[in-house]
Amino acid sequence: MTDREPRRVHPGTIGIDFLRRAPQTVIGLPAIAGWSSGRSIGWILLAAAVLGLVMLFFTWISWRRFTYTVAEHELIIERGVLNRSRRSIPLARIQDVSIERKPLARLFGLAEVKVETGGGEKDEAVLDSISVAEAERLRATLRGQVQVPASGEIEVESPETARFPVIFAMPVGRVILLGMFSFSLVWIAALFGVLQFFDQFVDFGLDRARDWAEVARDEVQARFSIVAALAVAGFALALGVVSGVIRTLLRDYGFTLRAGAGRFRRTRGLLTRSEVVVAMRRIQLAMVQRGPLRGAFGWSALSFQTLGGSNDPSGRQAMAPLAREHEVAWILETAGLPQFERLPLRPVDAGHVIRSLLRAFPVPVVIVAVALAVTPLAWLGMLLLLPIAAVALLQRRFHRYALRDTSLQVMRGVIAQRDWIVPYENVQVVTLRAGWLQRRLGIASVLVDTAGAGGGGGAPDVVDLGTADARALAMGLVARIG
């Protein structure tokens, strides 16, 4: 079904847009101008009112000029006041339609709709914002499905979604657990940064304040004993845990994964509820991650690399951020992917250990050498090299691969372990590569390129195989692509 006449986004958008920008412009600018030129409060209010009206007018014009049309074979978006632009997206190219509700939009009963195609562009088509009912209708139309009868109160989880069985869900307790695993050390750095700043301030105090500063510094140094440092570290650690839990709760509260009609539907979020749809046939590969702490407790995370439709820079969509092995297996089975099997995997060549050591050592050694110039205690830093060396020596044990019936399976990583499942039909280009050192060691790497991968080293490459193994792997992969 189509509606030929152009539609506009919801008028409430004008209000939201206005409110979003008001603090810095309508209130901020006249206040600064008035205060700096010494005008009265009445003048400031008048200036704010005039500026507000002008802004409202421009917001209204750009709202009027933004239209979208669902034609028979394409979605047309026209926008722009001075530079008119018209974008036409063939319906066949639309990969995903996601609905997101930010807190301010929720207040107005609105939702933002993002239409994603395979292209790499960020905002290919964003409708900000339309009523929830219209969003549901639009999504149904764009997906070529039966239209959901519009009713007044629709949650983001549409009735259409709720029909499908839940494949995986995280109760609040588990979301909090996930938050505790993902505490960030940023707080510690920030806190010590503030202390450092304070220290420097005291150090470079003005001449007049020097005497006072010296007294204060002695005071600070006297009190800033090891106990105090530990207290600060403990406080930062607590802050890190709390902020991690809050961030995770905001993002993953009510994490629910449903499956049906060839699609996964993931809903999550506390303030901003978001629903993401992942079409099963767009899944390029599966990746199972086990962080250092999580892995030890038997938890792992599953994500799918999909073609388009991911806001994540890695190009992957989280399917289960904290799951037990049988839950991961169940999602994989639902997606029609083979299970990861550890037993038949082959390790890479011993040369991998040499290359890992050569890669791991230079930076810490340079750091210790530089620190030695400052304090002889830096020799203790050499102790830190022991775990680094241990990890490098273990790299080979944890880097294995196998050509299974329908997929390439690769595992890599000692502390943060990753397993890849790459169905053969999703391998795009295979590259054999050997650098100078690799040729001396008689090894080579096999790089496996897939669609939709972002940056960040998430590729299922097999590094440092014996040359004969590398040839066999490359030829085997190409032969199975067919």
Partner: protein, 160 residues
Amino acid sequence: MLLPEIPLQPLERGQINVMRLTSAIGFGGATVIAAIPSWALSHSWEWLPVWAAPTAVALLGLWSTLLVRRRWARWGWAWTGRELHVASGWLVRSHTIVPATRVQHIDVTQGPVQRMFGVATLVLHTAGTAGSEVDLPGISRETAEEIRDAIREHLSSDPW
């Protein structure tokens, strides 16, 4: 030779001249550009000779231009009827295999320098990320078009 079981064909000899000329032009331009900051800095630091930086760049260019033959010899390609192999690299050697069914579209391009020496570049686009574009430079235009037509028969509508 990373994959000895695939016999590779060398590039056209004209490509040696293309590589020499592009390297000479590139480093010639870099020499001129390097002269500008060198000239500007020599005003504040008297001990710095004006010719030092441009000479260093020019020597680098000479070295790179003299190495062209070796780099050229490292290139090789093969069309097996199912996939295209492209090997290259002097220090880091690589051998890329593009299955014909994974190709999304194909270009045959010919720059002005390439036209002078009668060679062309075959460009394969895939849906991949790092290997989304695989170039095979330095083959004759006829060969490039032959391979293009052969691959075209394999193109599938849904390569994902």
